[in-house]
């Protein structure tokens, strides 16, 4: 089973011809960039292509290439002038990408219907299914407010649910861009409250309203002190949940009794996380944190007396 589809020279040559026809006079360096190969590969490709054509192979039938000047022009290659069909996996990549684009518009946007039609048409034609859902549970209103703020360089007032502190706070932010880690979307912003750059998980923004800029924001805050804590945790039960919570990559080799290190930004997060894992994991180090877990659990237990 091959993971990487080899970029065979034949395929590249077949793709090179329609590219050259459309981009007459293109520089060799540009071709190297567009095809992600070295310039000497480009020259090898052109030299090989130079010998190709229709049977007969006289100058009348051969592809006519000129590239001595460092710029390429092509003639007499009509047979290969159309780009090749997209393969089903290429179609898959495009369809998923289109679904992401569609979801990044608010539902009322006129682009959405066009994209929806295109996705359906591509999917039908290629027999490649679009993903059943592609959701990050973000409402169209929020999506629209965020997109407008970024596009028009306006600020937002958001109410944000901080998961680790379990608090909802109101913040004024200047959003720059949406980042996507494949699982969640994050709004990369400058936060007036923290006077620092922050990313906000889009699905935890409970509401967002556009405001006019209050003053010029020269984000010139001192970098925050690194408040990381190194924690040692023992796995006390074979639980997939522990592995996934701490993003342990070697899932297959982790066993009950193992101790691993984790570096966390927020001690509150680790206390609550360990508690929510029941007794599948325990804090070993540092001792203050270990005793804090015990104290907090005891306090919760006191609720039941």
């Amino acid at each position: 089973m091959s993971r990487q589809i080899p970029d065979s020279q034949v395929i590249r040559l077949l793709d090179l011809v329609p590219y050259l026809i459309l981009n007459q006079g293109v520089a060799l360096d540009q071709i190297a960039r567009d095809f992600q190969i070295t310039k000497s590969d480009v020259l090898d490709d052109l030299n090989t292509l130079w010998m190709c054509g229709l049977p007969g192979y006289t100058p009348l039938e051969l592809i006519d290439l000129s590239f001595d000047t460092g710029f390429v022009s092509i003639r007499n290659a009509e047979v290969l002038s159309n780009p090749r069909k997209l393969t089903s996996i290429e179609m898959g990549a495009i369809i998923i990408g289109l679904c992401i684009l569609r979801d990044s518009f608010s539902a009322v946007d006129s682009q959405v219907q066009g994209l929806e039609n295109l996705i359906e048409r591509l999917s039908k034609k290629s027999n490649v299914k679009a993903p059943a859902i592609l959701s990050t549970v973000v409402t169209a209103e929020l999506r629209s407010a965020v997109n407008t703020a970024i596009a028009t360089k306006k600020d937002l007032i958001i109410s944000y649910h901080s998961f680790s502190r379990d608090e909802v706070s109101k913040r004024e932010i200047t959003p720059f861009t949406i980042a996507h880690d494949g699982t969640f979307e994050y709004l990369e912003s400058f936060c007036q409250l923290a006077q620092d750059f922050r990313s906000f998980r889009l699905d935890r923004i409970l509401s967002a309203a556009l405001i006019e800029k209050t003053e010029s924001q020269a984000p010139s805050s001192e970098p925050k002190e690194d408040s990381r804590v190194d924690v040692q945790i023992r796995i006390t039960s074979n639980s997939r949940r522990v592995v996934e919570t701490f993003h342990l990559n070697n899932a297959g080799e982790i066993h009950q009794g193992d101790v691993f290190n984790s570096s966390v930004y927020n001690p509150e997060w680790i206390i609550r996380t360990i508690c929510s894992l029941k007794s599948w994991a325990e804090v070993v180090q540092p001792p203050e944190l270990r005793s804090q877990v015990g104290t907090r659990a005891q306090r919760a237990l006191d609720m039941y007396v």
Partner: protein, 316 residues
């Protein structure tokens, strides 16, 4: 100095000849006219068989003429333009631009090499897409599982996939699945379909696949039920239990958003929540520590108290 690959040259010439011909051309015509076929008849035959296989492996469909019993004809070959070329008239310039943009989203992500090839084909349709014409939206970078291509191939060609899957007790088992559907939900990628050994439909989370995912050579091994809908709720809503919880005023916004009723109090509010997975409910309550207290049901209360006792004991 010129470096020329004789083999690439021969294969490109073969594609050009098979694409240009209106009728099927025979092997002897190929050997006679196409540059690069030389040597004994036997070695040319072998060469041609290999070339044909190679082109097919690259996704190029070669048509073979039907053997007509009435004629003692040699087998003929050709490539149909509609199987080879992109239907460029089928898309508007705007659609090509969107497709290019969609491919660009995969930059540095799992399908980036595939997308690069798609982009280079698309850029030969209408030149580089003019992204400026498209309304502004934030760039999206995504990381889907590396084996997403096998999942898509599996569904498209209906090939069986096999992989090791991590269960909740941390044991890995080999699973064999007819993939029907794939999706991304709340940040995770999933695929679903028939678990062959269990004869039941199951959903798998991509990051719980340990190691590689293998795909069968044989295509069309199963049918995807026409009415198949993946279960994306992951819970059996029909068996839900009602819990009554005391939640400290101003806290527990996640619990509050799930609540069916909220009764305001002085220090604590009384909320009612329906849940289907006790396991998840316990975790959620424990997360909230002393901001939440279970009133009912009794079993839930006992489980939470037991978990807290064990936590205290483990952390003295």
């Amino acid at each position: 100095m010129r470096t020329v690959s004789r083999k690439s040259e021969r294969l490109v010439n073969l594609v050009i000849a098979l694409l240009a011909t209106k009728r099927y051309i025979t092997k002897s015509e190929i050997f006679r006219t196409i540059e690069g076929y030389e040597g004994s008849n036997e070695s040319m035959e072998r060469m041609f068989e290999r070339d044909k296989d190679e082109l097919r492996a690259l996704g190029i469909e070669i048509e073979v003429s039907g053997l007509d019993p009435l004629f003692d004809d040699e087998v003929g070959y050709r490539i149909l333009a509609e199987n080879f070329e992109m239907d460029r008239k089928g898309y508007s310039a705007n659609e090509i631009a969107y497709m290019s943009l969609a491919a660009q989203l995969w930059k540095d992500a799992s399908l980036s090499d595939v997308s690069q090839k798609a982009l280079r084909k698309l850029s030969a349709v209408s030149g580089p897409a003019d992204i400026a014409e498209i309304p502004a939206f934030a760039p999206v970078i995504l990381t889907a599982p590396l084996f997403l291509r096998e999942i898509i191939n599996g569904i498209t060609d209906r090939r069986v996939v096999e992989f090791k899957y991590l269960d909740s007790e941390m044991k890995t088992k080999l699973r064999k699945v007819h993939v029907y559907s794939y999706f991304s939900l709340r940040g995770f990628w999933y695929f679903s379909g028939l678990d062959v050994d269990k004869s039941e439909n199951r959903t798998f989370r991509c990051d719980r696949v340990v190691g590689e995912l293998a795909i069968s050579k044989k295509a069309n091994s199963y049918e995807i039920p026409a009415d198949y809908e993946p279960d994306t709720t992951f819970s059996d809503i029909s068996v839900s239990t009602q819990a009554v919880l005391r939640v400290r005023v101003g806290r527990g916004s996640q619990l509050r958003s799930l609540a069916s009723t909220i009764e305001s109090g002085e220090e604590f509010d009384l909320i009612q929540i329906a849940y289907s997975s006790e396991e998840e409910m316990i975790s959620l309550i424990l997360w909230h520590l002393d901001d939440v207290c279970v009133i009912s049901p009794e079993t839930l209360k006992i489980s939470v108290v037991q978990a807290l006792k064990r936590l205290v004991k483990a952390h003295v």
